[in-house]
């Protein structure tokens, strides 16, 4: 195969998941612009972006966990739990700073339960988070007695309803801020690099002196905290919450992370990729509505997408390894 500059350039783009995802999104939007012109308008795109913020944040948390070869099935339930607790307290008049504190607390506790069970008790993450998923979901019903949480105070909803310079919706800004924090953490902090090491080759990482037991807890706690933050934003943006809030978000977050290049075998992944993956998912599911696809097909579509993403990822990494990359 000839190695002209163009070829090498294309290979570099293809290997870089974030760039190819961004390119794919642009292409997709271009196609949609031709097919359904009313879709690609700023107001619609802005709404899609803001609606995707929740999954973007959850997906960032999943990246942290999946990179260490784990998984977190309970993020949606943590988000839901946070919305209900914070929601009820907000309705009772708690000040915003206290609400944020409560949210962080819920996230830390939920995440810690997962993290401790995985690291100290050495239980498989799939089982642990399957268990906590049902526990938190059950808690959600108990907190509310099955009722919705509505009538949130204006001040709380205003957290997410304004736009910077009348152009950048603050939801997106919050997400970008978190993206920066998580990316810096993953790429430039010692703990972050340890996560990659553990996912890539746990044995070698251990022998290199990384305290696996202490480090493994962290991604789960962070995942919980991020889910809680996403919960607060969701509650403020949507203005209500139900006992089944967040149940679909679990798979979407994982799908977004995987589409974004996070390898389920651990050791690879980026927050930016996850965000792009979430945006892609958001665009796809919105456009499915435009094409008059029933909402019930959404789940199937997401399942198929995650399968394609995961299988393609596995084939790609296998061929890359064969190439010696």
């Amino acid at each position: 195969m000839s190695t002209t500059t163009l070829n090498r350039f294309l290979i570099r783009i293809g290997d870089n998941r974030e760039i190819s995802l961004a390119a794919f999104i642009v292409v997709l939007l271009a196609v949609l612009m031709i097919a359904v012109p009313s879709f690609v308008v700023p107001s619609n795109l802005s709404e899609i972006a803001q609606n995707s913020v929740t999954i973007c944040i959850l997906a960032m948390g999943e990246v942290l966990v999946i990179v260490t070869k784990g998984i977190d099935l309970s993020v949606g339930a943590t988000l839901g739990m946070t919305t209900l607790i914070v929601g009820q307290l907000a309705v009772s008049g708690w000040p915003i700073w206290a609400l944020l504190g409560v949210a962080l607390l819920v996230g830390v506790v939920a995440g810690s339960i997962n993290g401790l069970l995985v690291s100290l008790a050495k239980l498989p993450p799939i089982i642990v988070t399957l268990g906590t998923l049902s526990i938190y979901t059950g808690v959600m019903y108990i907190i509310t007695g099955g009722n919705w949480v509505t009538n949130l105070p204006e001040s709380f909803q205003r957290l997410t309803s304004w736009s910077l310079l009348n152009f950048f919706p603050v939801m997106v800004l919050y997400m970008v801020a978190l993206l920066l924090v998580v990316t810096i953490f993953l790429r430039y902090s010692i703990t972050g690099r340890h996560l990659y090491a553990l996912g890539n080759n746990a044995g070698a990482a251990r022998l290199a002196g990384i305290n696996e037991r202490k480090v493994i807890v962290i991604p789960y706690i962070l995942s919980g905290v991020l889910a809680a933050i996403a919960g607060v934003l969701y509650l403020s943006y949507n203005g209500f919450s139900t006992p089944s809030t967040g149940s679909a978000a679990n798979l979407q977050a994982i799908a977004a992370a995987v589409i974004g290049g996070t390898n389920v075998f651990g050791g690879r992944g980026s927050a930016m990729g996850a965000v792009l993956g979430a945006l892609l998912l958001g665009i796809i599911s919105e456009s499915l509505v435009f094409f008059h696809l029933l909402a019930v097909w959404n789940d199937a579509a997401e399942g198929v997408i995650i399968l394609i993403a995961v299988v393609a990822d596995s084939l790609l990494s296998r061929s890359m390894r064969a190439r010696g990359a």
């Binding site: 998984i71 526990i135 553990l198 746990a202 097909w297 199937a300 579509a301």
Partner: protein, 328 residues
Amino acid sequence: MTVIVFIAEMAIFSIAAPGFLNFVNWLSMTENFTFLGVMALSQTFVIMAGGIDLSVGSTMSLSGVMMGVLWQHGINIWIAAIFGILIGGGAGWVNGQLVVRTGIQPSIITLATLFIYGSLATVLDGQGSIYGFPQSFVNVGTGDVFGVVPVQLIIFGAVALVFAFVLKRTTYGRLVMFVGYNEEVAHYSGVSTGRVKVWTYVVSGLNSGLAAVLLGSYFASVRGDMGTNMELSVITICLVGGVSIFGGSGTISGVVLGTLILGMLAQGLNELNMASSEQSIVTGVILILAVGLQQFNVYLSGRRKGASKRPGKGVLPPISDGIGSTES
């Protein structure tokens, strides 16, 4: 150990809810959960071979709905039922192929198919539920032999016996244990690990279909969401029944006991007026406790013998990763 738990549980409930410990009552109560036991029996094989099947609930929904839809279009209910079961097997086959050919963790694959099959089931069941099955069919789920022993319980018992026989006395059964215990060695010994694993998923799908038939005949109706969240209970039953989540060990009798324990637990909690959403908390806690106990046992025997209880996994016991991962 599991037997003790069972006896203790029955004792507690007999005290807490008078009238609970009535043998005839007890027998008919099993109709409420034998379908879970049927799914747990096949899940046992999947887990023992080192995998996991999270899509059993959705497969059950899909099978049930297919059965209902076919019946609605005039097909004989029994043939429709068989068809439904075969569809379940097909779904399981797809799972198996995906798992074996891509090498991706079964937890991820079956998580995705959980949503795909579940969504398909909902779509097929357009109008909400299909009901009105003929009485002869309904008798399967609700009938009694000698007026006392539920037909469902007999079916469950028969399936359990078959599975126990296959596990202990057939080559396939021993291969399943082998593959789960140490897949690499099995592979190098010439065992066709891929085929062994695919079959576990196919059987899991078939049993999900059978469970759909049982539940469908019990309620004389099927719905697109009839299997939602069942996978949690099924996996918990397996773990409580002593099947090691890491594969390679477990017994059918343990799983049968596990079915009884969890099934009766649900019944007992119902008597105590606990809502099903609250019961899911209990199930989640039990799941974690059960796997925690297993891990604790591994830890104990590791300390006693001074060697890792899982050969082929290296000297240092690794932090558990996703189920079914073949990398250490």
